[in-house]
Symmetry: C2
Subunit: 313 residues, 2 copies
């Protein structure tokens, strides 16, 4: 009898569904829309229905399902309860219990999406071969996940791996998206990089090829830096200094073997990784200086991989 | 048949030895000198001899020993190997293997001393009743330990919980004891507090009761702050801001339920804890804002308690 597991990544627009073999090979993946009407009441029933349809289509019996791993864009308490998820319309919801009732499958695990992505990257992505991994995702915001001994660190209040909100500057006056001030996300997210670039261009008249662009993106800043623009290089250096400093702090707390950097901003590649590593080495405790840095490789599939990994362990 | 375990804390001057019951009650504790001659070659044989003597004295058979937990003032790799310990004269040493050969006892575990102290405080001290605990020890230097799910986080390079070397100020020009710059220890150790106080007194002519003292200690700074001296209060506020900021960062990484503050500086008590908590709450991610703060209660016995806890689990 072949055994299977589901890995399910619930996003604000679509749910990524993956069917995996017991050996961790992806048999198939597909997407369904995330129906957020009526406080997200359809989301879990839609997922249960899609799983049932897939099992019927492939002739898979319920006894052949090892388990279901799910990740959601919100904080998780006690490894099972979503503690309010604005993006999905959910309040406090015991996802494990609900989905057990809907599917009759008992082995169900739930994680925060950024934490699941970190586990996925550890398993099949940029952190492959390591079990102590910190992932940092630089997108519109900054997310993260901490994996120790191959397991997600959830934290007592569900805030384990909330790397985007590491306090970097207690003198900051502008607010982070979370309302507090001086968090990592303000300086190293795509949004933060663009904001800083525009501010610098506005308060100085230094020449820069960035001034020739109708609209500036984080990618533009890295592209112009690679082309040698001095002002763009300074901004990349600043981003690397802040992120490298954050990694140095993190290594004194959990001391990972490798940092995996993902998200849209990480497409800048070597220029980003090398700058981050330089500042990491200058600030880190000597024992941890040789921690590795790698780019994430799974893109938007990382969460689905991490979700299924939880039930394959 | 009664069962026992040893908890042993190896310091640079003395070795604290503890005999505990299987239920975790301390039956007896004593000390032996740490003989550092010949690269610390006598330390483990002295410990083995002292254990044997105690077992003979009490008529305890080897089969009644559950295990031996040891902590040392140096980094530990793979939960057993000391990776150079200057204070003891040791190079790279497999403490578990050596002590197994000397005693014939197989269940031996070794930890870094600050990590063991954190585990001890979780078990029987300021963190009692919690399993996700971060301890920070403010002494001549600053040490720390991270406990998640009741277990020590050692880190890949043995630097888990090296809280004293969390990078707080990447623009610092003066070096930390470790050689890098801008680490927590520089601002919140007893040494760092005294240095900063003297600097401020030297560069300003502001009145302060601290000027009446022949020699200034960290305790003096807190005492004068409690008595209302404005300059001393500013220094205490600065220490609390830096330490509270560090705790805010730490909570975004491992999100503990409680921070336990120990070491000589922590004897300042409420004035310290309240200031740290204030700045923690202002910088922390909202989910973790209600993390608790407590003073350590075991003093110099914390390491011995943590050491034995490792083999009683």
């Amino acid at each position: 009898m072949e055994k299977y597991a589901f890995g399910i990544d619930i996003g604000g627009t679509t749910v990524k569904m993956g069917l995996f073999t017991a050996e961790g090979e992806k048999a198939e993946s597909w997407e369904i829309p995330t129906r957020k009407e009526e406080s997200g009441a359809y989301i879990l029933p839609d997922i249960a229905k899609s799983m049932e349809d897939k099992m019927a289509e492939r002739g898979i019996a319920k006894e052949e399902i090892i388990g279901v791993g799910i990740d959601v864009p919100g904080p998780i308490l006690e490894d099972r309860i979503v503690n309010r998820c604005v993006n999905l319309g959910w309040g406090v919801l015991d996802v494990v219990k609900e989905l057990q009732l809907l599917t009759g499958i008992s082995n169900i695990k739930v994680a925060n999406d950024a934490n699941a992505a970190a586990l996925g990257e550890m398993w099949k992505g940029g952190g492959q071969g390591h079990s102590d991994v910190v992932m940092i995702t630089l997108g519109t915001g900054v997310g993260g996940g901490v994996i120790l001994g191959g397991k997600i660190v959830c934290g007592h209040f569900g805030a384990g791996g909330e790397i985007g909100h590491v306090l970097m500057n207690r003198f900051e006056e502008k607010p982070c998206a979370c309302g507090k001030k001086g968090h990592l996300e303000q300086y190293t997210s795509a949004t933060g990089i663009v904001r800083r670039t525009k501010e610098i261009l506005a308060i100085s008249d230094r020449p820069s090829t960035l001034r020739d662009l109708p609209e500036i993106t984080a990618k533009d800043v890295f592209d112009q830096a690679k082309a040698g623009d001095a002002l763009a290089l300074e901004i990349v250096d600043f981003v690397g200094a802040v992120l490298g400093g954050a990694c140095a702090m993190i290594s004194c707390v959990v001391d990972p073997e490798i940092f995996v950097i993902g998200g849209g901003v990480s497409r800048a590649g070597d220029i980003l990784i090398n700058t981050v590593r330089k500042y990491f080495r200058s600030g880190a405790f000597h024992a941890s200086e040789d921690a590795k840095f790698a780019l994430a490789t799974l893109g938007n599939d990382a969460g689905m991989y991490g979700a299924v990994k939880m039930v394959l362990d």
